[in-house]
Amino acid sequence: MHVVVCGKVIPDSSVTLEIDPDAKRMRRTDVPHELDPAAASALEEALRLTEQHGGSVTFVTMGIPDASVGIRRALAMGASAAVHLLDDAFAGSDTLGTAKALAAAIRQQPRFDLVVCATESSDSYSGIVPVQVATLLGVPALTFAKQVFVDGETVTIHRQSEEGYAVVTAALPALVTTTSGINEPRYPQLKGIMAARKIEIQQRSAADLSLGPDDVGDSAARERVLSVGAPPSRGAGRLIHDEGDGGREIADFLAQAGVI
């Protein structure tokens, strides 16, 4: 079984994310990057499935040169190949542009039985790229998986729902999205880290994927950011240091709010 995992490499969680007011985009340069924890979970699920059923995992990401840190991590965890969609022409892509690039890269794979994405990325959490990818590929999408089972030619998931979960099934090839907390991603072992060094990351440009300015990048983006500003301020809160009277202060506040 060949599984493709699409995941993002994002600014490190220690970084306070900022928006560049001129570009009206998230600042992604000059900050340390890491494999999105949500993508690590998607990859972990893919690795477990191939360990169970045999096969291999290819990691695909679209991102800036710094994304290579996260790609190495994915390889060290156990992916056997990686594709880096790297081209200035991809900059400013909206969700559909991103999905077109990912779908084109997946189509270039010799074969795929399953695509695994995270339900949402940790930095932009639009949560719509995976179903776009599935629609473009013409394969069924099984979303919000809390558990994934593969049996011969079918994939079945437990899909998170408002009431609990639904059991949902489709024939392969298919695309699955994983919810956060589906598993605990493994830490790369030394052996994996060493092996990963020997794997060449395959870089692909927009032209390699036969995509032009009407497909990807700023020029193709249907969503245009008009402005980015500070949110209406709540006004500074009152700061007190508890010296045995914190509880009483809160009680006064609750009384004023009409709660007690």
């Binding site: 998170q160 408002e162 639904a166 240091h241 914190g246 709660v259």
Partner: protein, 323 residues
Amino acid sequence: MADRIWVYAEAVEGTLTSTTLEMLTMATAAGEAEAILLGSAPDDAVGALGAYGARTVYRSDDPVFDEYLMRPAIEAVAHLVEMHHPSAVLFASSYAGRDVAAGLSARFGCGAISDVSGFALLNGRVEATIPALGGSYVAKSTLVGAGPNLLLVRPKSVEANPVGGTANVEPVPVPTDDDVRQVRIVDRVAVPVEGPQLEGAKNIVAGGRGLKSAEAFHMLHELADLIGGAVGATRAVVDAAWVPYSMQIGQTGKTVKADVYIACGISGAIQHLAGMKSSKHIVAINTDAQAPIFSVADLCVVGDVFQVVPQLIEEIKKRKGLG
């Protein structure tokens, strides 16, 4: 002619979701509201949609919408859009809402804006407000190019407001293509949750890793009972299995809008803030005066939860004449 704004309605456990009603209120303010309701729904659903402002309800209760995931709904809505050309279509940022909006976007090759908290229409052009990065910024976005304006709306962005109308019912053509039957829903399993529910709770006491253990949540339950509220949590403590996922508040958990939100031992990561920031009154208790949660709190108490929470419980009991 007024802009026609569609709301993709959802029913869960025999009631319309609160986000459905909130979206109708938004749609009514921006133009003429209409709703799409597919699959099984409570008997009075069309009446309720009308009461919250829908003039027309596009309705089909065909079982295909309950038996197969997303594709029948995507095809049915796509067909309606091609027939009627609404000015905008609103979806909840819910499981079904995201799937259907994403599928439509790929099908029409059009854009979709996620995480919308409000919008306006100016000559057919949509201007959406998005609280970006957990609400640290407010962005305004528009959609260009052909195709419907698809907006994914954050829960609790507005207060739902009944206007007391009635809706006409228009039947929805049911897609018959075999292709839509790719993903079958085999079973639905309800996982009951205990105690007062976070959704709709007036007041919330939430705990984070600062509580150190599952046991410490007892004192939060005691406090919540005293102020008539429910208990919530951060993802860090859900991941640690101190409390169930149903209690998680934030980007990947529930969005709440409490009258009073008391954050205990919570750092205030943007993913947590995304789910609770629009609460009316926020109190935070944290040992670290620099904790980001204080940037959204009205009352910031620098202190130890194991000191302050018991004090608060005693104080409330005293005032209520309970102790």
